[in-house]
């Protein structure tokens, strides 16, 4: 059953009347009869964790917002720029009202004055569609002053980025929204604290998929949500499958389903029957790569099980590579991404990605040495944990883990 990709089950759910016929805005209606603190308790009890990558418990994040502050904001992270991620796009294109409803429930729960949806600039058409949705909701009293006669006022706006992966990092996103360079901020203060959020006010930043779960939780109850998935990973998740499979695309399955189920039953197995799977990046370019062994295939897709095989489920942007793919080339591709996307604020990330890219190119050209391979592994180890934001760690991952798991792919390029 789809909780998120309901556009696949219900034709035209992107139209307000159809969305409402199928229970649309019942979650908001119910929330408005409860106190904000009660709404937060339900979301906490559901076990929902952030779908933007880090998996932070959503209700706990909302409870950090100081209720006594007069001005608070919700910012929806619709920057979706991690390599291999295309799930938020389908939610917003095919089921946009569910995202807006989830955002309004979050806004009510923290008593926010407004919601800003920050979209990557390339989502121009999606932004225009969301603007139309917002106007349709305003006409029905679901956005703006005195929502559904509850006395609660909230505005919803869209904002387009302009091509910068780093703006998906929450503090860079806030800077960008304020019209400053989209570079991360020094924390604390965190966004949830006075001084750290949008316009220095306490702010919740949540991913699109995270918020799109909330209407279901409010209508069906925390227990119904928690019943799906595993102990520590509740609910469904959208897995974006790309690369060497027969049917790339988005698949919504419970957390805790196995990689085998996703990659064989859903995505149809290897693209070419005579070329077995070799490796998988389960969280786009930013998480550790793993060899696609039977053990990995039988692992459950949950926060806890992915940790046990040395990787993360993160945003679940699952990139599959078959045996024809050279992992040195993969390391080079991913490094070029991070070199391009480094915001340049801290030296280890700016200089490190530049240097790693140069040396990997040399290795790929056949001009590298075994020492070069050792050196890039060292540089990557030294970058990890020394930077202002997690991009520095992300950039170290592809090097460290491709060399660890696929040393022969590097050895074949270098002179001994």
């Amino acid at each position: 059953m789809h909780i998120l990709l309901r556009g696949r089950d219900i034709p035209n759910i992107k139209q307000l009347d159809v969305y409402e016929t199928h229970g649309g805005f019942d979650g908001l209606r119910k929330s408005l009869t409860m106190t904000p603190a009660e709404v937060i308790d339900v979301v906490k009890a559901s076990g929902l964790r952030g779908r933007g990558g880090a998996g932070f418990p959503t209700g706990v994040k909302w409870s950090f917002i100081p209720q006594h502050e007069p001005i608070k904001y919700v910012t929806v992270n619709a920057d979706e720029s991690e390599t291999g991620t295309f799930k938020d796009r389908e939610i917003m294109e095919e089921n946009p009202y569910q995202l807006i409803e989830g955002s309004l429930i979050c806004a009510y729960a923290i008593q926010a004055k407004a919601v800003y949806i920050y979209l990557r600039g390339e989502f121009w058409d999606i932004g225009a569609q969301l603007d139309e949705c917002i106007e349709a909701l305003r006409a029905k009293g679901l956005v703006g002053e005195n929502i559904l006669g509850s006395g609660y006022d909230c505005e919803v706006y869209t904002h387009l980025g302009a091509g910068a992966y780093i703006c998906g990092e929450e503090s860079a996103l806030l800077n960008s929204l304020e019209g400053y360079l989209g570079q991360p901020r020094v924390r604390p203060p965190f966004p949830a604290q006075k001084g750290g959020g949008l316009y220095k006010e306490a702010t919740v930043v949540n991913n699109v998929e995270t918020l799109a779960n909330v209407p279901f939780i409010m209508t069906e109850g925390a227990q119904a949500f928690k019943a799906i998935g595993t102990e520590q990973s509740a609910g469904n998740k959208i897995y974006c499958v790309s690369g060497h499979v027969k049917r790339p695309g988005n698949y919504e399955l419970p957390m805790g389903a196995t990689f085998r189920e996703l990659l064989y039953e859903q995505a149809g197995g290897p693209l070419h029957d005579d070329r077995p799977f070799k490796a998988m990046l389960p969280s786009g370019g930013s998480g550790p790569i793993v060899p696609l062994t039977d053990e990995v295939l039988d692992t459950c897709m949950s926060y806890e099980d992915c940790a046990s095989i040395g990787t993360i489920i993160g945003s679940a942007s699952i990139i599959i590579m078959d045996e024809t793919v050279d992992m040195t080339w993969v390391a080079s591709k991913v490094t070029k991404f991070f070199k391009h996307e480094s915001c340049g604020k801290c030296t280890p990330c700016r200089e490190g990605t530049y240097w790693l890219d140069k040396v990997i190119d040399r290795i790929l050209d056949g001009r590298g040495t075994a020492d070069d391979v050792k050196r890039i592994a060292d540089v990557a180890e030294n970058m990890a944990g020394t930077t202002l934001c997690a991009l520095g760690d992300f950039a170290a991952n592809p090097i460290i883990h491709t060399i660890r798991h696929f040393p022969d792919d590097f050895a074949q390029h270098v002179q001994v």
Binding site: E80, S81, E82, T83, G84, T85, F86, D88, R89, R120, G121, E122, F123, W124, D125, Y157, H159, L160, G161, A162, G163, A164, Y165, S176, L177, E178, G179, Y180, L181, G182, Y199, C240, V241, S242, G243, H244, P248, G249, N250, L281, G284, G285, S317, I319, M321, V325, V330, K333, V334, F337, H340, E341
Partner: protein, 168 residues
């Protein structure tokens, strides 16, 4: 023309200024409007955005320079950004990108002499299951191959021709 006092943009500019707590927050949407008017973010556009927001033009210029979607030089009428990031590359996007440049006789980032096409490669556009794909100005074109691309180039050329005749 200009963007200040241009009836084409008046309402949009007002809407963006009203939507944020500070004028400065409107810098990104206004830069898009400047780009729409001038075809790229030139110094007139930067000056006008700065004036509307009461900012220094150098501040506006540094914002424009930070993001890849504001172009700092004129582009072709059809700005083609081919995704060559890992998932697309696993489906042949690097070869497709090289072929497209050849087909148009361009180097990376170049523009055809008739001013119609600019070709660049970009990072993931969140359409990895539809590779190879590209973004043409603000629209996605997905599941491409050489035959489909040749047809599109022909279509865009004739559209440009019709537009030019109409003006003529």
């Amino acid at each position: 023309m200009a963007i200040i006092g241009n009836p084409k943009y008046e309402q949009r500019i007002e809407r963006h200024l009203a939507k944020y707590e500070t004028a400065r927050s409107a810098v990104m949407p206004l830069l898009y409007i400047a780009q729409e008017e001038y075809g790229w973010v030139n110094s007139e556009g930067i000056g006008e955005v700065a004036q509307l927001l009461n900012l220094d033009p150098t501040q506006v210029k540094s914002i424009a320079g930070f993001y890849t979607m504001y172009s700092e030089k004129p582009k072709g009428k059809y700005w083609l950004q081919v995704c060559t990031d890992l998932p697309c590359a696993l489906q042949g996007a690097d070869d497709f990108h090289a072929w497209l440049k050849d087909e148009l006789g361009l180097d990376e980032g170049g523009t055809t002499d008739d001013g119609l096409f600019t070709v660049e490669h970009v990072m993931c556009l969140a359409a990895c299951d539809k590779a190879p794909m590209l973004q043409c100005n603000f629209s996605y074109v997905e599941e491409l191959d050489q035959a489909k691309m040749r047809q599109l180039l022909a279509k865009w050329r004739s559209e440009a021709q019709v537009a030019a005749n109409g003006r003529g």
